[in-house]
């Protein structure tokens, strides 16, 4: 019964083996992969927005992204997009946790070049949450490994083990890494930075990651 996976993600199309880490393509992950790659291309080809800030009793202020700032932010946004795209395909819990860690740090990178105090403060606090949440994320993956003896989602899918609390820990890690609702304030503050397509990549990666984590946790 090799790679016989029935999941909420729809039909199983195929797999891409990298040693023990087997990426697999389902209907759901193929669509998410294409969306993430498409927006990566959008980020690559689009020039950043300019913001006109109206001032009371003075001249309006034009916020724009300088070329140097654009380069590092575009690089980080593209890295974030590629990592999001491949996180959609990965078939290994530990590998997925590592993708989340990379996405978290590139999210900080996207706003780190903005020279605005409140944005950098928010990015700092988001970075602290991202660092804390590696503990439940990798801890959850390690507990699943200890209980079932495997990390592969394709293997775990067929086993039907009681992993409720391990999944809770894993989900808590994802919640911290993507900043789901009650822990959203730091990320919301990051979105206020100028430079539209790069900021959108933070948003898109969180959205896709939340759906993908739900899919993984329902599959295993």
């Amino acid at each position: 019964m090799f790679l016989n996976i029935t999941s909420v993600a729809g039909e199983f199309y195929g797999y891409i083996p990298f040693g023990d880490i087997v990426l697999y393509v389902t209907e759901f992950s193929a669509i998410s992969f294409v969306i993430a790659l498409f927006f990566t291309l959008v980020v690559y080809f689009t020039k950043p927005e300019k913001q006109l800030e109206s001032q009371i009793g003075g001249f309006d202020k034009l916020n724009y992204v300088s070329l140097e700032e654009l380069k590092i932010r575009r690089l980080m946004a593209i890295l974030c997009g590629i990592c999001t795209a491949f996180a959609m395909l990965t078939g290994d819990l530990f590998n997925y946790a590592l993708f989340l860690a990379v996405i978290g740090i590139t999210n900080i990178g996207i706003v780190s070049a903005v020279k605005k105090e409140w944005v950098l403060n928010a990015a700092y606090y988001y970075g602290i949450i991202a660092m804390i949440s590696t503990l439940p994320l990798f801890g959850g993956a390690a507990l699943i490994l200890a209980k079932t003896g495997t990390l592969s989602i394709l293997e775990l899918a067929g086993k039907h083990q009681d992993l409720l609390f391990q999944k809770m820990l894993y989900a808590a890690g994802m919640v911290g890494e993507t900043g789901v609702a009650p822990f959203y304030a730091a990320k919301a503050e990051m979105f206020r930075a100028p430079g539209a397509p790069y900021i959108l990549m933070i948003h898109l990666s969180s959205l896709l990651i939340v759906i993908r984590t739900a899919e993984i946790l329902l599959t295993i």
């Binding site: 083996p17 040693g19 880490i21 590998n95 860690a101 990379v102 403060n121 209980k147 592969s152």
Partner: protein, 152 residues
């Protein structure tokens, strides 16, 4: 109590790490009392602690085997995707061989990792993980150096 004040409290970015830490504490306290079991049939088995000390200078990473000739005993999830597994795990560079003949603690030294013992689980069976680990480090260095070079 006015609920609006609560919402305003959690909308400050400096509160969010505290909030998350409290949330995590609650989950982990529950988690601590949940009975769980250990599966003996592990994917990446380790030898018992201290079982190799003074028997092999590569302790605790001695997996046996002769490089390129006799494969070491490495258990993997999908052996069909790893046709040459175990072939290079015992490979040592000449300086590493020289060192390992002189000290019984070679496996725990820092020289054992780059150019010493090639951990196949890291570099062959789970290679994508290692790429991502180093990517995390690389990205954080990129951010740091950009912020450092463009400081006012």
């Amino acid at each position: 109590m006015d609920i609006g004040r609560l919402w305003n409290y959690i909308s400050r970015p400096d509160i969010v790490p505290r909030l998350f830490a409290v949330f995590l504490c609650l989950i982990m306290i529950i988690e601590f009392f949940v009975p769980t079991s250990y599966n003996e049939d592990q994917l990446y088995p380790k030898y018992p602690p201290q079982s190799q000390v003074f028997k092999s200078s590569l302790a605790p990473y001695d997996r046996g085997g002769v490089p390129l000739k006799i494969p070491a005993d490495i258990k993997t999830q999908y052996p069909q995707f790893e046709p040459i597994r175990g072939r290079i795990t015992a490979y040592l560079t000449p300086p590493a061989i020289w060192l390992s003949e002189r000290t019984p603690y070679f496996g725990t030294t820092i020289v054992s990792t780059p150019g010493g013992i090639l951990d196949e689980i890291l570099y062959y069976t789970r290679g994508l993980d290692t790429i991502l680990e180093s990517l995390t480090l690389l990205v954080s260095f990129m951010i740091f150096s950009w912020v450092y070079l463009h400081r006012d």
